[in-house]
Amino acid sequence: MNRRGIMSAESAIEGSAVITHEIGLHARPSVKLTKLAKSFASAIHLRGEGLESWVDAKSIVRVMGLKLREGTTVFFRAAGPDASAAVDALVALVKRDFDEHRPA
């Protein structure tokens, strides 16, 4: 894993989940993700599997700009007072398929 991120690896909380939506991280899920990220005080970044750079999880331009597809693992990294809760919530959102596809 790339440890040269914006935050030091020591203080950061990390987590990951696989995107299961058939299109990938498209507009509606990206909006949900950035809205959720903005609800936390911590600095939160995400990175797509196979990509080098971490991007601000609170920026729709950055998140959509990754154009992540189905089956890609997305990594989160947060630093701040509520970092742990933020990573848990974001990982859960991706695992729930952004509430787009309620389990049948």
Binding site: V31, E100, A104
Partner: protein, 537 residues
Amino acid sequence: MSTDRPERIFEGKVASPGLAAGHIRLALRRPVAVVSTGDPAQERRRFDAALAVGAESLGRLVKRQSDEAAAGMLEFQLALIGDDELIEPVRRAISEGAAAAAAWSEALGRQIADYEAADDAYFRARAADLADLRERVLSLLQGETEDEAETVEGAILVAEDLGPSRFLELDWGRWRGGALMGGSVSGHVAILARARGVPLVVGLDLSAASLVAGADAILDAEKGRLVQYPLGATRVAFSRRMAERQSTAAAEAEFLPRPATTRSGRIIAVAINVDEPGAVRSVDPAHCDGIGLTRTEFLFSGPGGRPDEERQLAIYGGLIAWAGGRPVTIRTLDAGGDKPIEGLTPEGETNPFLGLRGIRLSLARLDAFLPQLRALARAAALGPLKVMLPMVTVPRELEETRHLFRDVLAELGRAGLPAAMPKLGMMVEVPAAALNVARFEADFFSIGSNDLVQYVTATGRDCAAVSALHDPLNPAVLELIARVVAHGRARGIEVGLCGDMASDNRYLPALLDLGLGSLSVAPARLAAVKAAIAHHG
């Protein structure tokens, strides 16, 4: 007054009939005014104000949207407009002396180019959402007020073209009608406009320079023209026609609550065509015999991406609930032809109307078809559902779908989800199917006259040069319809018709004479069709 304001007539084609008087509101893509006020602080204030007003109006639009796909597109734009990663570089450029419009345009231009270069069709298509946002803010920077409520009351929209999502976004209770330079009479926007009774003229022959924003105008969507600065005499004649139209509409509305019955006492079932789920809100279900056609393409082509099983079930269930026990016919995805869907329909077909479309495409793309069949099977447990397959050519396509339905039902049963086998019928629009109708084991037949006419007469719906040959009353077309009706009668199978022919007074009498007993029409045409049936011998 008549010298500096001469009456001007712009000719076009009627896409949705109606009459409207009001003023012209231009929604044209103009070249960007890159004139800076020269004062960075003032440019910054203008930019921030434009963003604030843009965000506010987007927020209002999101709330008003019943269509989830359209709401998704607007929410994406709203998130973009509030994203510092996008906005800060623009502010920096402005502080360094750039004009607000130029800086904004350049920042969005970079994003648009990035999306246009994407490998994935879905992401490529987002370039249009970004372009829409660019235009929205640019027009605010050019001093246009964004508040639709203030400026739009009584306005006639004049634009180069209008996408289906933009059409749905506009509040047609306030706009009087539309006139487009592009567009086609059989395009999706025309269908949406007809369903809502919004007067619309397309293919308008004009140069934007000769139009005057705010000018008094008459939209004559009976003759297919826009009249700018109408003279007194034009106005008087037009008012008379509007009054006639209103009294005709009032007389026709009297037939709405009654069953459609010909003078000889034949009862004709008249159902409605549903293009998008919101369309049923304007119709009292007691005024029709259910839904004869639901086009599901709009669910798939919206910016929200492909609808999953749950979202489809919610929409189909909503229609069944609305119909209150009346039959609801839902057509499986009819993509292809003039209705391409990115990521689903093949690109680069030389003749899309003869290509992989309708049921052909669905059977080739089970990844899209199976979720739809699952949603339909689950919806069938909620009320009387009829499922109709488009573009069926050979019996095998119907049988394959029936097998898929059985598999889906078994699967849903194992998962403990309530589901049922819907009635499974087919469109008759391919001549081979019409000629061989007896070979198809369908629960019902619905004649798709739009495509049938096109295929029988070998004339494209949109090709003006051969429009005289594109004749629904061509004896060959009528013979095929008669053949299907006779087969249905002999075997006790329901036969209906759901194309534009049914709601056109020029063709309706011929259809009734052929013995058709079931029609499905645009909601806005329901009263007129029921009235015409009542006057038929």
